[in-house]
Symmetry: none
Subunit: 226 residues, 4 copies
């Protein structure tokens, strides 16, 4: 009984604190995304969050911890994505995973941007947050590819390298958005992008023709083409 009365009270306070932390993280994400972590000042973060500089330190031990909190937050979101993504059984799964990934990008544009940006400079961010998640996706994709290679549905390619290239395709599509020189894609565009990625991945650019194909499957290089 007592507990019940106290709990909502604590919970309200905790909710207030969590909300404030979110405000700060959002403001910080904006500033970090605009100027990069190194050049972002706590003064400006506070200004964007519409609070005094000192207030930041009631919620985070320091500037760096705001960055890490943002990374942590993304962690959770990414995990949800994977949970939904399932086991990548077929083309539709692939499209779905890519589509959701893109949507996540878009939904948390600033957060994603910071993470990628800082991962390029900051070892902790790279290893503890970005690498971890990329490895997860990479494993997912690699398994998918390897299974199909064994089933002779896919050509014999280096699955690790290919995986990286797939991720690179997606990244490349989002780079201008991340960089702020292109508007984020609408959900419909996300779907189209996902389809384009998966199709390119599966079939390449070339038109399939009977002759070539027969030749290819025998491992013979076709002189006509390129």
């Amino acid at each position: 009984m007592n507990v019940k009365k106290i709990k909502p009270f604590q919970s309200r306070r905790e909710r207030r604190i969590e909300q404030r932390r979110q405000e700060i993280m959002t403001a910080a994400a904006q500033v970090f995304a605009e100027q990069g972590y190194a050049y972002a000042t706590t003064k400006e973060i506070a200004a964007v969050a519409d609070m005094a500089e000192g207030t930041l330190y009631n919620y985070f031990p320091g500037k760096r911890d705001i960055l890490l909190a943002i990374a942590d937050e993304m962690q959770c979101i990414a995990e949800q994505l994977f949970a939904e993504a399932g086991s990548l059984e077929n083309r539709r799964d692939m499209v779905f995973l890519v589509e959701r990934g893109l949507e996540m990008f878009v939904a948390r544009l600033n957060f994603t941007r910071i993470l990628l940006l800082e991962a390029l400079v900051d070892d902790v961010i790279l290893q503890e947050f970005v690498q971890q998640r990329l490895n997860y996706i990479a494993a997912l994709v690699a398994t998918f590819i390897n299974e199909r290679i064994e089933a002779q549905v896919f050509r014999e390619v280096d699955s690790g390298m290919t995986t990286r290239m797939v991720l690179g395709m997606v990244l490349a599509l989002m780079l201008p958005v991340l960089r702020g020189v292109q508007a984020p894609p609408t959900p419909v565009q996300c779907h189209d992008l996902a389809v384009a990625v998966v199709d390119l991945l599966l079939d390449g650019l070339r038109v399939r023709s009977v002759v070539e194909d027969a030749a290819l499957s025998q491992g013979v290089s076709v002189p006509v083409l390129c």
Copy 2:
């Protein structure tokens, strides 16, 4: 006559100056690459260049200008690459372009790294240097793709988007190297990577089979697969 005597003298002096600038740029590139431009200090650049801090300012107006000079330098190198690359007529041209691109990456790892890193944060770097060059390559690739689409050798894809994905593939392959968590590829590896990229791009992952291919060329989706 007079001119001839003076010119080599001036020229020697100018060569000395140019050499000094190169020393500084190399040292700066190393420090920038290791720590990121923002965290790099002029003190450390000077130390790596084995000169006094003040001397830097005899050759560059400021820290930022060293970065811009590095970007400029890359500009020239990239232009040489394109000049060699020719007009992307066939598969071999594509492999060659990618291969030379990778080699360039490797040869000037620090320079490339800084450029990409800072382009993500610095608008001038992005627009004046990186964007420019990427646009050039993109145009090259897009033309190549469009020509083949018209010739019905390639499927009808969005050439702009595809171009970006191609560049993303290459970038993804080099990211771990750029980030310093993977050794740079040897020339042989560069070639293999280039082949892998081009093949994936042209043919995708799927094994070609007579039936599918026939179906595909008719734009019919094959139910069996995926």
Copy 3:
């Protein structure tokens, strides 16, 4: 009548307030003693006093005023000491005064420590509190010495300087305790210390001649002396 009813009410309230002030002062004394006034934070004082930071300010105008209140408190205690000490008529009085002084030190270790510490830095503390009391003791001791010099019981010494040396002896004995590197003396040890001080003061280190010594060793007070 009205007054009588109101007074105890007010008095109870005032007692509550006084009690709260004491709690705060005790907590503050502990924190001040551990870290020094300058390094002590109101946050920690509040934590030790088991109340919110803001509550402190309902009882004291500011951090510094807590320090001054502590000093004031010591004032009162010291006055009690002097009242009991009487007029320093003989050796026993001296021992008694020193002993009680030591006991006071020990009883209010934190308070004493803070006062001495801050008196070394803070002019107000020095002049308004510490100096005042030291002057009082000094006067007491000096009078005692001067009387005996006139009676030719003591050698002709500079009574001011000697007084200071006496106080220094006591201080030196307590410094390690104040500094927290030695356990505070038990009451018995306080007595022994007091005896040691007084004896050294009266007789110095050198062995006395037979006659005097005989008298002293029998515990007989030499009537002429003291």
Copy 4:
């Protein structure tokens, strides 16, 4: 030859650096002594040293290191004192040691003050600098006392406690000077103070019996004694 030319050059530079460090230490000592280490600001130290705030950091890693450097400096000076002091064989040695100690106090008033002040709050200062030196002096004095107790020249006192009281006497004499409420003693006064301390220590306050006194008053050293 080369070395010879270089050495004076290095030496000049090093001398310049050392001089600058001394300037900073002197300025810092003044500010520390006036306000206490905790309240002293680097801004004010720089102002007193008549240089920019940043310049301090060309010579010391941080504020605290200036304090430690001051402590180190005193270490050296103290060692010289002990070297001169010899082995404390007799009364004259004692007077000499005390006198030189007082002179050292006076010569480096600010330095001494800071050391004592901070030793009361700062564990490193206490243990690494002050304690060390006090232990040395204490050992010297204790040995002196113990030897004489064995020779039955001194009464049987607790040598440790007595030592501390002796040091306390000296400290007490200097406290007002340290605190800045009394002018530092002249060399002559230093001598007189030293004599007073030693005499009080040896003979206490009480008038001696005729025999001893006769000897003493003639300035004849009683051979057995000291």
